[in-house]
């Protein structure tokens, strides 16, 4: 019944993450985490700003990126069919997966048919989304992550907390300790005298991974882009581990979300400028691998492309929310988000954290079609709507607009109990009623002013041991006492005195 290779304890998953406010509270209490996150996000944010400022046509590139992706979504069936035909013509095999379970079963079947009991993996968000590693482990297949940060997460039996830098919550000392303690059980051990120097850490990882690259018969990747007109699939990366996986094994399986599609080769001109500058703040990423089906005598001789829906077509149902499908997983929005910077990625309870996760996860979980669980419903509220994410998004996803849209869906899904007794729905209705006419508002203001005089001291209300949302304000903050005379009363008395 083990969910992990070699009978070890089960791999951790995001299942059971509490609603965002609670998960955030736990994360906020971790001082080390906050220091690591602040350092990492501030550094990458500054670098991204410089890389983007170099391009005078950045806004035009953003507009083009958004337009191309919107066109893809508008012509999805046609372009997907074209991709399938071209991949097949080039010797690849295309599979269609409605959800994660279907995709995982397809991949496991391919690995078994290849006679393999282990696979090497290129960093892939899509396979995290469908928990492929856990599914393969249940089939007795070991999946080795080969991206450095994913390796740190995997060896640490940890969960990723960033799209691009999944071990962003770890510092050098923690990484050294993980390597020393865990590498031996997974393959070549780390040197006993391993220090926290980045160079030594990278060398230990390189040697550890090298034997896996040379041994593996099957590799699994995601895709950054796939070109419908040629059937070409593409991965961009920084470390070269991807290139190893994509060229050495006999069999390559790519699991790709159907929104990764681009119509033409020419469209890469836009995205290969937008993506590296937005994600790693580089003008160009170090490794760009492209393959079209199978090339005899060169690279994997069997290529499988698994096209995954897993809720993506549900996202299409929402006219406002569907812009989330433009996302190219650059993670610029995470790095500028003041909420993400303080709570980290795991509080979002999904491999997609930060602002994009807050709009993508609920939609992939079907919020447009049916009520969602409490954790999912908390995600659209995990934002102060400051708009920094929209400002940096390379494909112009108006994340605050989508957050507000999803909040209306959460409210619409309130059951009768929440509508009748819920603190927030009741307060919102009461406010709406009070605001419905100025007389009622005036009365409410006089009541508040009177209450303010009772509990206020020197114009402010200090600690108030209240329950619920109001109490949440007073735990660490004071409030100005409501004015004895509201502005409208002052105005009326002033007018009646004939002043102007």
């Amino acid at each position: 019944m083990s969910g992990s290779p070699a009978g070890r304890e089960p791999l951790p998953t995001f299942a059971g993450t509490p609603p965002f406010p609670e998960a955030a509270r736990t994360a906020l209490a971790d001082e080390q985490l906050r220091r690591n996150l602040r350092h990492a996000t501030t550094t990458i944010r500054t670098k991204r700003g410089r890389a983007v400022a170099e391009r005078p046509d950045w806004e035009a590139l953003r507009l083009a990126g958004a337009a191309i992706k919107d066109d893809v979504i508008a012509r999805w069936p046609e372009l997907l069919t074209q991709l399938e035909a071209n991949v097949t013509a080039a010797g690849g095999i295309v599979h269609w997966a409605r959800d994660g379970a279907e995709a995982n079963a397809i991949v496991a079947g391919i690995v078994r048919a290849a006679g393999a009991t282990e696979v090497v993996k290129v960093k892939s968000m899509t396979t995290q989304e469908i928990e492929l590693n856990e599914a393969l482990a249940r089939e007795g297949i070991e999946a080795w992550e080969t991206d450095l940060a994913e390796l740190i997460v995997q060896l640490g039996r940890d969960l990723p907390s960033h799209i691009l830098v999944p071990a962003i919550h770890r510092n050098r000392d923690e990484i050294r300790d993980i390597f020393r303690a865990e590498m031996g059980a997974a393959g070549r051990p780390a040197p006993a005298d391993l220090s926290n120097e980045p160079r030594e850490l990278a060398e230990a990882a390189r040697l550890h991974l090298r034997e896996k690259f040379l041994r593996a018969k099957v590799a699994i990747s995601g895709a950054n882009f796939a070109i419908a007109e040629t059937g070409t699939v593409m991965v961009v990366e920084s470390e070269g581990n991807g290139r190893m996986c994509l060229t050495l094994p006999e069999t390559l399986v790519t699991v790709m979300g159907i929104e990764k599609l681009l119509p033409t080769w020419r469209d890469l001109e836009v995205f290969l400028q937008l993506l590296p500058r937005s994600s790693t703040a580089e003008r160009m990423n170090p490794y760009t691998s492209m393959w079209t089906g199978v090339t005899p005598g060169d690279g994997p001789q069997a290529f499988h492309l698994v096209l995954l829906d897993n809720g993506r077509t549900d996202v299409l149902l929402d006219e406002v929310g569907r812009q989330a499908l433009r996302c190219i997983k650059c993670s610029a929005c995470l790095n500028v988000c003041p909420v993400y910077e303080r709570v980290g990625g795991r509080a979002y309870g999904s491999p997609y954290p930060g602002p994009i996760g807050a709009i993508l996860t609920p939609q992939l979980r079907g919020i447009a079609r049916h009520p969602v669980d409490e954790q999912t419903a908390s995600l659209p509220y995990a934002s102060s709507l400051c708009g920094a994410c929209f400002e940096v998004c390379p494909v112009r996803i108006d994340i605050p607009e989508v957050l507000i849209q999803l909040r209306t869906q959460v409210v619409r899904q309130h059951g009768w109990r929440a509508r009748t007794f819920g603190e927030e729905p009741v307060a919102m209705r009461a406010l709406s009623t009070a605001f419905a006419n100025p007389g009622r508002l005036d009365l409410a203001e006089r009541v508040a002013g009177g209450a303010g005089r009772v509990v206020g001291r020197r114009g402010r209300i200090g600690r108030l041991p209240l329950p619920g949302l109001l109490g949440a304000w007073f735990r660490r903050r004071d409030l100005p006492a409501p004015a004895r005379t509201s502005f409208r009363r002052w105005w009326r008395s002033r007018s009646s005195r004939g002043e102007s």
Binding site: V343, L385, A388, R407, M428, L441, A472, R476, R477, W490
Partner: protein, 245 residues
Amino acid sequence: MKIALFITCFNDLLYPDVGKAVVRLLNRLGHEVEFPEDQTCCGQIHFNTGYRDECVPLVRSFDQAFDGFDAIVSPSASCATMVRHHHETVARHSGDASLVASVAEVSPRVYELSEFLVDVLGVTDVGAVFPHSVAFHPTCHSLRLLAIGDRPRRLLEAVSGLELVELPGATECCGFGGTFAVKNADTSVAMGEDKIGALIGTGAEVLASADTSCLMHLGGLLSRQRSMVRVMHLAEILASTGPAR
């Protein structure tokens, strides 16, 4: 020019002095201001929390209250944002064509105070005197949605005696975020504490902003920590003619 003051429900109850300051300031610049007493709330709390149906009557009453004015001036960048950017969305949501039409008529006439002073009245020196050091918090809505840019800074720089000090990380959100402040109180407070940490490091006597909502949050944290730094709305400084009382 027929000018209306859109006080906002928030200032009406909690910060009436801000409204009085706007009236004093505009009078001093030679303009009459009217206060349409039928105004209540722009609906921002409801809209941003997802209560779009409850927002519809508020948009309707806003348009009725402010019908017929040339300029509707508000000492709140976030409420001005709500009217200018989101009333149209609410009106379309209502399916009421007459509401869509009245929003198209009324919303573009709404100005945040610094926009009105700089763009419409064409003044940056409003003749204010305020001999204190001031840090300015450019709120997210004024920065990213209204894009009022450096207008508040230009107004503050022209104030006699005022020393404007740089606030590190000024463009980062303070953590208020409307109902975010209570629904995600811990995160909101963590963001706010970083902001006031930066503020206190500047040694400024006053924290100013174009939104009292952010100031309520930051001021609430400062007050709980017994800090001597005062929070003031931009309008109160611009209306001032001497040292703060």
